[in-house]
């Protein structure tokens, strides 16, 4: 069990409602993508799950126990924050040692190995790390924590393409070896699309959708071709992401891939393609 239940949770700051009656059940041992635009409430939600802030209403329960001031429940969660919350003057290897104090199952050998792999000098102090290496260091601590639930807030911020790729692969391999509940909050949607099993999309503090990526993508498709013919095809259908370049048009049709009208498309000389998670996201959160 590593199930998280978010029950009717709201968070109000003065006159702003950062989260508005959110209900989500996070199943154990799955990888989730927490997606939303800037200010949608992603970090607020992660902060609430880890008792860093308190909900205005509702509650968050892990395996039946509230997280509110509950050290026992919180010891099962590792939270990689986007902000640096570590003492600036401390050396990385000392922070690994401390982490081991809080998370007894922290794998020191793995952390050291990963640091070497990523070229992170663990003798360095937190304040001397570049943005990319600060992310790498925090991500390594999270991967090696061996906590039942690991939350990542923008884990690849400032990482170059090679390091991002390495991070996703390490995440998958560590997850395969010891399954855990993982939530990744990120703006790099296409990059995580194949890594995550389910997407949680929030907009302006409200839950818009929680669905498996595969289901989401099989519930939409792209149709393209000559503009007037595309118009003919999409007539009466629910569409998003309509783009026109000259007399060429493409649209994402919100309809199951199985229901595509193959005959009509052939008659109109149109082409089909797979929908992209990012395009669906943009249209859902616009």
């Amino acid at each position: 069990m590593k199930t998280i239940q978010i029950k009717g949770v709201s968070k109000v700051y003065g006159r702003t409602k950062a989260l508005d009656k959110v209900d989500i059940t996070i199943e154990s041992n799955r990888i989730y993508g927490l997606l939303g635009r800037n200010g949608a409430g992603k970090t607020t939600l992660l902060n609430l799950m880890t008792n860093k802030i308190f909900p205005t209403e509702g509650e968050i329960v892990i395996d039946g126990e509230t997280v509110l001031e509950n050290d026992k429940a919180l010891r099962n969660i590792f939270y990689m924050t986007e902000q640096n919350l570590y003492p600036e003057g401390e050396r990385i290897r000392n922070i690994y040692k401390w982490t081991k104090e809080f998370y007894p199952s922290f794998d020191m050998e793995y952390a050291k190995g990963l640091s070497e792999k990523f070229g992170l000098d663990t003798k360095k102090k937190v304040k001397d790390l570049s943005t990319g290496y600060a992310s790498i260091f925090k991500a390594i601590a999270a991967l090696a924590s061996n906590a039942d639930i690991v939350l990542f807030d923008e884990p690849v911020l400032g990482l170059d393409a090679n390091h991002r790729d390495m991070f996703y692969r390490e995440l998958i391999s560590s997850y395969s070896e010891s399954p855990k509940t993982i939530i990744i909050s990120t703006h790099l949607i296409e990059e995580v699309a194949s890594v995550i099993e389910e997407a949680i999309i929030i907009k302006e503090g409200k839950l818009i959708l929680k669905q498996s990526v595969e289901e989401l993508l099989s519930g939409a498709y792209i149709v393209s071709g000559e503009a007037s013919r595309v118009d003919k095809y999409i007539q009466g259908k629910k569409c998003v992401g309509i783009e026109t370049i000259g007399s060429f048009k493409s649209a994402t049709v919100l309809e199951a891939v199985n229901n595509r009208d193959e005959a009509l498309s052939e008659e109109l000389k149109l082409e089909f393609a797979r929908a992209e998670l990012q395009k669906l996201f943009i249209s859902l959160t616009n």
Binding site: I31, S173, S176, S194, V195, R274
Partner: protein, 131 residues
């Protein structure tokens, strides 16, 4: 084995086909062990549940089988099964799209047949014709 993330085909089906391709080519031999789901997920950067789903498609069809505690193996007769299945879908998968592309390019069915029989003869003929 290659996976095209922009393809219309769901990733798990592409993965199943890629494994089949390797069996057809003899890279994965019958009764031999294939790579683990973990290795597949890490290599292609895909969720292990997706990789597992792809492998399970082949288990359900009797092309792969699990040995408890050991891993995944290619069934005896897997190659023949795949050949049969692929032959049945050859028209839909390849011939139809070939005809569609040819129609776009104004290539007649007769020309296609000539190409298949004689390689690139069509272009040579048109050269001769213009001289």
């Amino acid at each position: 084995m290659l996976i095209d993330f922009n393809s219309e085909k769901p990733i798990y089906l592409q993965l199943a086909e890629a494994i089949e391709d390797n069996i057809l080519k003899g890279i994965f031999e019958e009764e031999a062990q294939i790579v683990s789901t973990t290795e597949i997920s890490v290599k292609y950067r895909i969720n292990p549940a997706t990789a597992g789903k792809g492998v399970n498609v082949l288990v359900d069809e009797g092309i792969l089988y699990k040995k408890r505690g050991l891993g995944m193996f290619v069934s005896a007769g897997a190659k023949r099964k795949i050949l049969e299945k692929r032959r049945n879908s050859f028209y839909e998968e390849y011939v139809q799209s070939l005809l569609e592309e040819a129609a776009k390019l104004n290539i007649s069915k007769e020309d296609i047949v000539k190409m298949i029989v004689g390689g690139n003869e069509i272009e040579d003929n048109s050269d001769k014709g213009s001289k």
